[in-house]
Every structure is written in structure tokens, then in C-alpha cells.
Symmetry: C2
Subunit: 221 residues, 2 copies
């Protein structure tokens, strides 16, 4: 069972590492980090270095395809060859999934047309640009296409997916093995429970970081 985790420059690390920690524990799973190019990348804040082991073009097949988010999705969405590879892998996959703004990449590849989907709450409306119906839920499943909201939602999605790929018994044991028994210190993990001022501030900060990163990339060209 081949699980392809898409990885790229300016990825949000936890978007992919949360599901990785779950899915790599599924018996029989062969997990590979694949991206537009093989080689080292740095995450969205340029601090953590991660390795992309194989180019998407060299991946013949995926049983599970997972696209995480991060500022790097902008480049991925503007990469016709990368999007074509994702479409090719999607055709053979039992599950095509995304975490956070990875949903925008699936959308740009045309894989969310006519489906309900979710993404980072600050980018939710953008899903409509790709013919999808934005839904404000932590995990949205439409047949074999599953989208998860921000960052930590990828862990929830991966556990549900592990139950499908193997068994609920296995998924329960994985949840225990990683002691996923969260106790968030604050009650503001979602816009619905945070003050409008905080939501506006976090939204603005995210947009500013994204713009700064884009400007920096432009300057480096």
C-alpha cells in the first residue's frame, strides 16, 4: 500500500508530519515523500529542513495521495507539470486527500470540481474558485476525496483514514501509540470560538506572511 505524501519548498511541516506519524504506523504501508523536485526543502518559515526523496514525475502509483499546505502551494498551483502529476496519481488512488491549503492545490488540479471541501479557515472561500463548495468542518469526505482543515486536523483525518486502510482496531491502537488525547490549553482553536478581533488579526498576519514570502521569492528570481 503506497502512501505518497507531497512535499515542497515552504510547506507547513505539521500539515504533513501529523498524518505521516499516523499513516506510517499502518501495517503494510509504504510511505514516500514526493514533490515537484527531489532534494532538500525548507518549511514555510525557512527553519526546518526536510528531504523530498523522489520527484512526483517518478512516482508510478499512489494508493493514498496527500497534499499538505503552506505558502509553497502558490508555486505548486502555478506548476502545470506538478498538477498533471497529481491528476495522474489521483486517477489510480484509493484516496486523494489534503490538509490545510493543500486543498487549493487539489482545486487547481481540477480534482475538487463539484465536491464539498474544506481548507484553512482563512482561505475557505477560495475553494469556490475551483468549482468546489466550501464547508467549514474539520474533515470533509466526499467518497474517496477527503480534505482536512488546518494543520492539526490532518491527524484526525489520518486516523479515520487508517481505519479505512486497515481496520478500526488498528486505528485505535495507533491513536493510543501516539497518545492522541489532546488537552488544548485555550478554547480558541477555531474561529467559531475565538473573538472576531483575534480572527481578524490572525487572518491579517497570515496574509502578511504569505505576501512577504511571495515578495521574497520574487526577489530571488
Amino acid at each position: 500500500m503506497k502512501i505518497v505524501l507531497v512535499s515542497f519548498e515552504a510547506i507547513t511541516a505539521l500539515d504533513v508530519v501529523g498524518p505521516y506519524e499516523v499513516l506510517s504506523r499502518v501495517p503494510g504501508a509504504e510511505v514516500v515523500f514526493a514533490g515537484p523536485h527531489a532534494g532538500p526543502v525548507r518549511t514555510d518559515n525557512r527553519v526546518l529542513g526536510m528531504q523530498v526523496d523522489v520527484a512526483l514525475a517518478d512516482v508510478p502509483h499512489a494508493d493514498v495521495l496527500l497534499v499538505p499546505g503552506g505558502f509553497g502551494v502558490d508555486a505548486l498551483m502555478a506548476d502545470p507539470e506538478g498538477l498533471a502529476d497529481l491528476r495522474r496519481l489521483d486517477r489510480g488512488a484509493a484516496f486523494t486527500t489534503s490538509v490545510c491549503t493543500g486543498a487549493l492545490v487539489l482545486g487547481a488540479a481540477g480534482l475538487l470540481r463539484g465536491l464539498e471541501a474544506t481548507t484553512h479557515w482563512a482561505y475557505l472561500e477560495q475553494l469556490a474558485d475551483f468549482g468546489a463548495t466550501p464547508v467549514s468542518r474539520r474533515v470533509v469526505r466526499q467518497g474517496r476525496v477527503i480534505t482536512a482543515a488546518v494543520v492539526s486536523a490532518g491527524i484526525d483525518m489520518a486516523l479515520a483514514l487508517a481505519a479505512e486502510l486497515s481496520s478500526e482496531d488498528v486505528a485505535r491502537s495507533i491513536q493510543l501509540a501516539i497518545e492522541y488525547d489532546p488537552e488544548p490549553p485555550f478554547a480558541e482553536g477555531h474561529p467559531r470560538s475565538a473573538s472576531p478581533e483575534r480572527v481578524a488579526r490572525v487572518r491579517a498576519a497570515s496574509a502578511a506572511r504569505r505576501a512577504a514570502r511571495a515578495a521574497q521569492n520574487q526577489a530571488c528570481k
Copy 2:
């Protein structure tokens, strides 16, 4: 504010990436991945490649020191120079912290003597070997020494730490930014809520994986 995340061969990725995703968002934080040796490492299942950017010996100071877990702690606990570096960095640190079996490394370095501490539930009793009092809680704080239980507990700890390093307001915004609003699919994220059979099975599987990894490392010498 220098935040040193310790990284090493056979690390558990989520132990360090969870806190990283939180702490790297604290204003003014400078996060660095440091380990016994600079260079590439592979995580506990040898799949994900991560980069260690600097050797611990070359890190002059840490305001926050964080030691994650994984099978690789066995090698770290047997590395007198690495442990000496951790003791040196601890002396100048405002906070010394661990996630999962990273607590065993702090223990081996003599940094938990006389303190209450926690770690992965399957390794909890081992803390007593280092003069610590094992406590079955998700996060245990003893002054400036904070230990977190398994994997995902590192996110909870890091959010609490972000509040101390900056402000509760900042920590609340970070929690919203990563949408840490977990909905675990099952109620068995902790031994207290799982069946004794499942606990025994997961404990045995963890011990078997650890032994296999140790045998493999021995064979590679």
C-alpha cells in the same frame, strides 16, 4: 530568544514538529535544530529525512531547550559528550523541556533528579532510574523544567510555553492559526481510556520496534 530543538537519528518526527509549529510562531523566537552531529537524519521508521543544522557542541546558548523522543534516545543516552552539551545548555536556559522519551535523555543527563516528570506511558517507570518521580499527566511542570507525555502532548506543552515566553494573547492566536481544535476520532488516546488488552498490545509492539531498531543498529556497526 533562542529556541534549541534537539534532533537526531531515529527521532519521532511529531515529537519535535508539533512544538516547532507552535514555538516558531512566537514573536522574536529564533528556532534552531541542533543535534549530536550536524547533517541529515532519518526519523524512527527511516522514512522522513530531516536536517540537523548545527552540532550541539557549537550552540553557545539556549533560552529554551527541547528534547524530543524516538528510538534514537538510546544512542543519545549513551553519548557522554551529547549529555554534557545538554547539561551546559540547561544551565543557561529559561526552560528545559522534553516530549515523549526525550525525558529519558534529560534523566540520563541528570537533569530530572528530585523532580516530578512524565514521558511516553510505556516508559514511565524508567524515570525513577534517574531519580525522578514518574507522574502520569500529559504535561508536568516543575519550575523551569517541563516534560510532556507522548507525541501530540508536545503541542499542548508548546502552547503553554508560548504563553510564558510571550503572552497568553499570543499563544491564543497561535492556537487559532494552527486551528488546534482537535476532534480525536476515538476515545482511546490514553491508557486510562483504552482496554488493558490494547494497552498491552501497543506496549509490546513499541518494545518490539525498539528492539528491532537496536539490533539493526548493532548489525550496522
